[in-house]
Structures are given as C-alpha cells and as structure tokens.
C-alpha cells in the first residue's frame, strides 16, 4: 500500500504580497491594497503592520484615510499572475505533482511529496526548505505537512490567524494524529454556508474538535448527508482525488508603480530584484537566461485626455546565456542608459528566455590574447562603448557587395568562431584585389604590404585648378590637377596619376559617376609643413564637384 504525504504552501493576503515582494522598501510600512472602482474602493489585502494599526479587510478607502499613515496601493491582477507563477515555480522545485488550492485572496498549492524523503529529507526539513525558498522569492507562506490532503490544506490556511505564532509557519502532522492537530481550528475552516455556521454556533460548537467528537448519526439526522463529509474533514479522514497541474516555465516578472517613475536608478532598483528572481528560477532548472525582454509601460497622455497603451520594449541578448546577476544588471543599466524611455514609466515587465548555461572555459584572472575576450565582459564593454560613441559606431566592419568606393556596413562584433567568411570574397576598392586567405587567392600577396587609405569622412570639398593646355612643361596633361585648396590651405600638386573613372547604380536613384586622381601634393603659402603627401581626389562628373576623399598612409 502506497503511503500518501502532502505539503501545503499557503500565502495569505496574496494581493499585498505580490506587490510587496518586489518592493522591499515598503516591507516595514503599513500597506493596504485597495480594489474596486473609485470612490467605492475597499481593502482586499493588507500586511501585518497595517493589521496591527487597526486596518481590516472590507474597510473603505475613506475609513483607511481617516486612520492616516497607511501606504495605499491599487490591486494589480497582472502582478498577482506573475507572482503566482513565481510561487508555483518555487513549489515545483520540491515536487512535480502540484494541485492549486487558492481561495479568495490567498494563494495555496498542495504538493504531493510522497517519496521525496531521500531528496529533501524528512517532512519537517522539506517544510523548512520550502518555506525558505518561498521567502527567498519574497513570499511569506505557512507550510503544513500531513498524510491527509484536507488536513494539510486547512492547517496551512489556519497559519495566518492567531495560530501563526504557535506554529511559526510550519506544521507537520504525524500520521494518525490529524484529528488532534485540527481540533483547535474554528468551524469556519470548513467554509460552510452562513446558515450552517449559525446552527453550529447555536449548538455551541466552535472548533473542529467539538465537531469531530459529535456522534455522526445524530449529525446526519439533523443536517443531512453533508454533515458526514464535514465530520470526516474535522477528523482528518476526508478523501481527495489529487488532480495535479502542469506548471509551465514562464520566466516573467511584472511590477506596477503607484506613481510614474522617471529615474533610471528607480527602475534599476526594481530590475535588480527581478533579475535576481529570474536567475534563481532558471538556475533551479539548470538553465540560464539567454535573453531579457524589457517592456516599459509609459505614462503618456494625449491632449484630449485619452491614455494610449504604449509599451517601450528593449531586448538584451548576452553573448552567452548567463545567471550572473551583476553582469545582467550592468547590461540592463547600459541598455536603459543608452536608450532611455521617452516618458515616465508606470509598469515594468521583465521576461526572460531560458537557455543552456555556457560551457566556455573562462580565464582565471585576465583573459589571454589567444582565447579572445570573455564573452560576458565583452558584452558589457561593447554596451559601454555604444553608450559612449553611439549604437552604430561600434562593431566589426564588413564590405558591401558593391563597386562603390568607401562603402561598408557595421556588423555586431562577437567572439564566436562560426562567423568567419570561408568562401565569401570581400570586394575592396578595386576589383582585382582579393583578400588573401579568404577567397581563391594565394598567400603570396599577403606577404607584400599594401598602401592604406585614411578616409576623410565626410569627404572635404576642394577647389581644383586644372592644367589647361595640351602640351606643357613637367609633362602635365590636359585636365590634370595642378593646385587644389580647401577652406584654409592651398596645395600644389607635384604629380597626379589618373584619371580612373567609375560609375554604377545607374538603374537606381543612388547612381554615381566619379573620376579619381591619385595626387602627390605639398602645402604651399607658408603653411609650415611642406612634406609631400599622397591623397585621393575625386571629381563627381555629374555635378563637376571635386572632393578630397582620402589620404594614402
């Protein structure tokens, strides 16, 4: 015969707990959660400090405000759903068979823990570990362990009342002693209809122990067949068919602010807590966070008073899936810093994609040049650089598949070895240039150094004097530049090689038709430095405009 054993985790005042778990700054303050449409808002949940100051469920907002000193928060259904998922995720660490037993404003899950002693120790130890795991996720829950499903459920639910100090949030009911454990619970634990509660009150029955001691036949005679089920519940003998749910891994955290937040530090304060929760949940399944999606609900109001639902989204993709909190938080900080939301934020959602943890051997101290930069450090470094110089100004250059000189695009830089071009031949300025070792080119030319260009971005417009006559001294030719000048200086051309004409894209609006001259020149007119230098002058033939494109160096 298989022995059953259940553990129930019960979080009372769940609307308040869902809001406070991400707001540790409010933990010591009396907090009251209100629901309903204004002005008929009533208290639906409150924390212990609020209860000690006299607040109670069902009070109106006006009554609460008369007390003064309370923190009033609106109920957040989305926040509760996210918190429930986290609660379930924590419980799922201890058993795969879980049934939900949430009632009213409480959130409760009953775990089938039969056969888990060798994994988590005896029931008392499991209860302590379960409670600690929930506390780490920001929940105050009472735990009850029993061989009877309903006994565990009712005992855990009673932990929130005056019995809380007695049980300290954990109750382990030995097999066969369910009736004794439940005898002090009030009749209300059975959740009877008001009529039957009044009947028991008239009879003087106030606890489950008194109900259990009453003769069953007499109860059935007076109250019907339902009384037999009540008595069995009170004795801890009621049977239950376990219907487990299948928890899905949804790594998502949500927080709604009572006031619009316009400080990045405030967002990061909440974001750090969210990242910690997400990383812990991923680690529990031997996973890591492969991507973080940040959704910021903005506080936008149109002039006509309408409030559009605008969500500002940023996605972080670390080079390797990671659970390093500091690293992820730094990435988040740099991302928000580089792309701040255009308006104040009223709600924050952080969702994560799970991925396998990286298996890269990292350096002990500083990464060696052979191994390349550590992916996580490189991510942070690239994010810092992008924040400093601009998003599109950091990366690996890649040549465009075009003949147009000076065209390139920026690609994201990574240390992954798989992205090297094996067969693609980048096309440099001249078609005859083939990159050594990349294409079908022998390595002979790689041994020979190449002249490099230093681009002038944007190209500087220059005025050029051309050689006018057909025959000349110094062998100059018709149309050859002899002098060019920019805004400040005048340069005399010592030698000019060209022209070399190129054109393209005539089939589109971005056509070009250029004439290139390689020019050796020196500054004239007392500029000081009269060293000869080589540069590339280009004439736009469509507009007959000259520009200084680059220097040879």
């Amino acid at each position: 015969m298989s022995r059953t054993l259940y553990a129930c985790a019960h979080a009372a005042e769940f609307p308040a707990q869902a809001l406070l778990r991400l707001r540790p700054d409010l933990a010591a303050k009396p907090v009251v959660v209100l629901e309903g449409q204004p002005p008929k808002e009533t208290v639906c949940a409150l924390n212990r400090q609020a209860r000690l100051r006299g607040a109670a469920l069902g009070m109106t907002k006006l009554e609460i405000e008369e007390f003064g000193g309370f923190v009033l928060l609106p109920r957040s259904v989305a926040g509760e759903a996210a918190a429930r998922a986290v609660f379930l995720e924590c419980a799922a660490q201890f058993s795969p068979r879980i049934e939900e037993d949430s009632r009213e404003t409480a959130c409760a899950f009953v775990l089938d823990i039969a056969g888990t002693e060798r994994l988590f120790g005896p029931p008392a130890q499991l209860a302590r570990r379960l409670r600690a795991a929930l506390a780490a996720a920001g929940f105050r829950a009472s735990i009850a362990v029993s061989a009877n499903y309903h006994a565990a459920r009712m005992k855990a639910a009673a932990g929130r009342g005056p019995h809380r100090q007695e049980t300290r949030g954990i109750a382990v009911i030995p097999a066969g002693e369910e009736a004794a454990a439940l005898e002090k619970l009030p009749i209300a634990a059975l959740e009877l209809e008001e009529e039957h509660e009044e009947t028991f009150a008239l009879w003087g029955m106030r606890t489950l122990g008194e109900l259990a001691r009453a003769p069953e036949s007499e109860l059935v005679t007076r109250l019907g067949a339902a009384a037999r089920a009540w008595r069995r519940l009170a004795c801890g003998e009621a049977e239950h068919t376990f219907a487990p749910i299948e928890p899905e891994l949804a790594l998502e955290e949500f927080c709604e602010f009572e006031n619009p937040v316009d400080q990045i530090d405030s967002l990061l304060f909440i974001g750090a807590r969210m990242i910690d929760c997400l990383a812990r949940r991923a680690e529990a399944r031997a996973l890591a966070l492969a991507a973080l999606t940040l959704d910021l609900k903005l506080d936008l109001k149109l002039e006509d008073g309408r409030v559009p639902q605008r969500v500002y989204r940023r996605v972080l993709r670390p080079a390797l899936p990671s659970t390093d909190r500091k690293f992820l938080l730094k990435l988040l900080q740099l991302e928000i810093g580089a792309h701040p939301p255009p308006a104040a934020v009223v709600a924050l959602t952080l969702a994560a994609e799970a991925g396998r943890a990286g298996k890269v051997q990292l350096g002990l101290f500083v990464p060696s040049a052979d191994g390349g930069p550590e992916p996580s450090r490189l991510d942070v470094t690239l994010a810092r650089l992008k924040a400093m110089v601009g998003e599109d100004r950091v990366g690996a250059p890649a040549l465009e598949d075009t003949h147009r000189a000076g065209s390139f695009r920026m690609e994201s830089f990574s240390v992954a070895p798989a992205d090297l071009p094996k067969n693609r031949v980048p096309r440099p300025r001249h078609a005859s240039v083939v990159v050594p070792g990349v294409g079908d080119h022998n390595d002979d030319s790689s041994a020979q150094p190449r002249m490099a260009l230093r681009r002038v971005r944007p190209p500087a417009p220059v005025r050029v004097e051309l050689f006018p006559t057909l025959s000349s001294k110094n062998g100059a030719r018709v149309g050859q530049p002899t002098v060019f000048r920019d805004a400040q200086n005048r340069f005399e051309v010592a030698a000019a090689y060209g022209p070399w004409r190129a054109s393209g894209c005539w089939w589109s609006g971005e056509d070009w038709d250029d004439e290139e001259w390689d020019v050796l020149a020196r500054a004239s007119g007392g500029a000081g430095d009269d060293t000869l230098f080589a540069c590339l002058l280009v004439r736009d033939r469509t507009r007959n405009a000259w520009r200084l494109e680059a220097f040879y160096d």
Partner: protein, 295 residues
C-alpha cells in the same frame, strides 16, 4: 690584495639581507614580440612589435604609419587559434578604411572598430545624466574638453581604456593620426602609464598612431615613419610607396647585443590593386578598374 670579483662578492654577501645581488646588474627581461608581417621591419626590430607594451608609430601623413599598423593587425588576426585572434581599432577621427584593411589581409570579423568621431553628437549622453526626461545637466566628457572640440580624443582614450581592461585583444590600435600635436601632448602621462599596465596585464600590443610621440617614457618602442619615394607606373598609375622607419626608443632590447643595430630601415608598400595578375596590365599603363572582368 683581494681581486675586484672577490671584493664585490664580499660586499654583496654583507648586504644580501637587505639588497640581494646589490652590485650585480639586474638581467634585462626579454620582451616577447609579434611580427608585423613586413620582412624589412621585422628584421629591423629583430622580431616585431612588443607584446604587452605600447608601441608608437609616428610621422606625418603618407608616412606609412597606417599601412604598417594594418599589416601588424592582419598578422595578428590570422595567427594563433584556428579562428584568429581578436583585435581592436580605436579610431579617434573616423579615418579607418575597411577596404584597405581587407586588402592588407585583416580578417574583418575579428576586428572591433570603434568610430569615435561624430560631428552630430552634442556631447551629452542621457546615460550619464540618469534622468529620463527633463533637463540634462551632466556632461560626459572631461570638463572643458567638449568646449575645446576634444570630445573625440576623450572618447578614444576612454574606449582604449575599456578595451584594455576587458582584455583578450591581441592587438589594439589607437589611431590619433589626425589629432593635432598640441592636443596629443596634453594627454596626461598617467593615462599612458595606465595603458601600459593594462596592456602588460592583458598581453595586448597597444599600437599608437600619431604625428608625434605622446606616450613618452610609457612607450616601449617609438618608430618614426617617413615617406621616402613614390613608385609610379607610367603617368597614370601610382603603384606604391617606399617608406623609412627610424627607431627612436626601444626599452626592451634583446639580451645579447651582437652588433650595433641600424637606426634606419626602408620598406615599401604596393597599391592595393597592384596584385600579381594585374602587373602585366600595369606595364601597359592600364590601371585595372572596378567591375572589369578578366579571363
């Protein structure tokens, strides 16, 4: 009368508790070098540019600084592990030409290019202000530098610092080639010492391109580059350049000095289009053009 060697031994023994080997000169460390891929330069430097130190390539425009640096980076991206080593190019004035880099043999996916110069940026980053909306008061550059138009230099120095601290880059080129000499001279010496420490720790070769030597005593090697002559083919094609390099400073010389090394050396670089299969066309003074197809 005791000999000088015996006397020295006696003195050293008496002082060995406080100064070990007080009178024996400390052996000079042999600095690891990385070849530039240019035979003449490697022979002149007896190996190449130092690893884990600062090398400065100085000179005016068209002096071959950039060609030499690209050849070095190309060599570094291609050697080592199968996928090549990572290198970085911090471009203070946005002058880097990817086509020249590809022609020099640089594996572009292994090269991180940081383009510092941006005329459109106002010099104020919201990241530094910490405020999403409202007045932005904090200036992210060093105080006063923005007003002088030195933001790009400040960006370049900060980017270099970040990359050196991150480590893992085999070569890092700080391109200050278009920076005015008076601006470069105002870079604090402490910055260069920091770079030297970081480069030493991460075993990165930091190559600084500039019009003059800025790192002063923090540089392990200073090479002055000069143009020597141009090589032309006929009247229409500039075929290449010949450059001169002069060794101005070398802190880590090899342990055994066999003979006095020459200070000057000459090397040449071909035009990017001057490949073997194109030379027959050069002889006919015909420069191969973009889009031309050959048999």
């Amino acid at each position: 009368m005791p000999s000088a060697a015996a006397l020295r031994l006696t003195i050293e023994r008496s002082l060995e508790r406080r100064f070990p080997a007080a009178l024996t000169p400390a052996p000079r460390a042999v600095r690891e070098t990385a070849a530039t891929g240019i035979a003449e330069v490697d022979a002149h430097l007896e190996g190449g540019l130092p690893v884990g130190a600062i090398s400065e390539l100085t000179g005016p425009a068209s002096s071959g600084r950039t060609s030499l640096a690209l050849a070095f980076v190309a060599r570094r991206t291609r050697e080592g592990p199968a996928e090549g080593r990572a290198c970085a190019w911090v471009d203070a004035s946005d002058a880097f030409d990817p086509e020249s880099a590809a022609a020099a043999g640089v594996l572009l996916p292994r090269l991180l290019w940081v383009r510092c110069w941006d005329q459109n940026r106002a010099g104020i980053s919201p990241a530094q202000t910490g405020k999403i909306r409202g007045a932005q008061t904090a200036v992210w550059t060093r105080p006063g530098w923005t007003h002088l138009g030195w933001a790009h230099l400040d960006q370049a120095l900060r980017a270099t610092d970040l990359l050196l601290q991150a480590g893992g880059f085999a070569a890092l080129v700080l391109d200050l080639g278009n920076i005015a000499r008076e601006q470069g001279n105002r870079i604090p010496l402490a910055t260069w010492f920091r770079f030297r420490q970081a480069a030493d720790r991460s075993r990165s070769s930091l190559v600084v391109l500039g019009r003059a030597s800025y790192a002063q005593s923090a540089a392990a090697l200073v090479l002055a580059c000069r143009p020597s002559r141009s090589l032309a083919a006929g009247e229409t094609a500039l075929r290449g350049f010949q450059f001169q390099i002069e060794r101005r400073r070398e802190r880590f010389e090899p342990l055994q000095i066999r003979e006095r090394k020459p200070v000057l050396s000459t090397w040449s670089a071909d035009a990017a289009w001057d490949t073997a299969d194109a030379r027959w066309e050069i002889d006919r003074t015909k420069k191969p053009r973009v889009g031309e197809r050959r048999a």
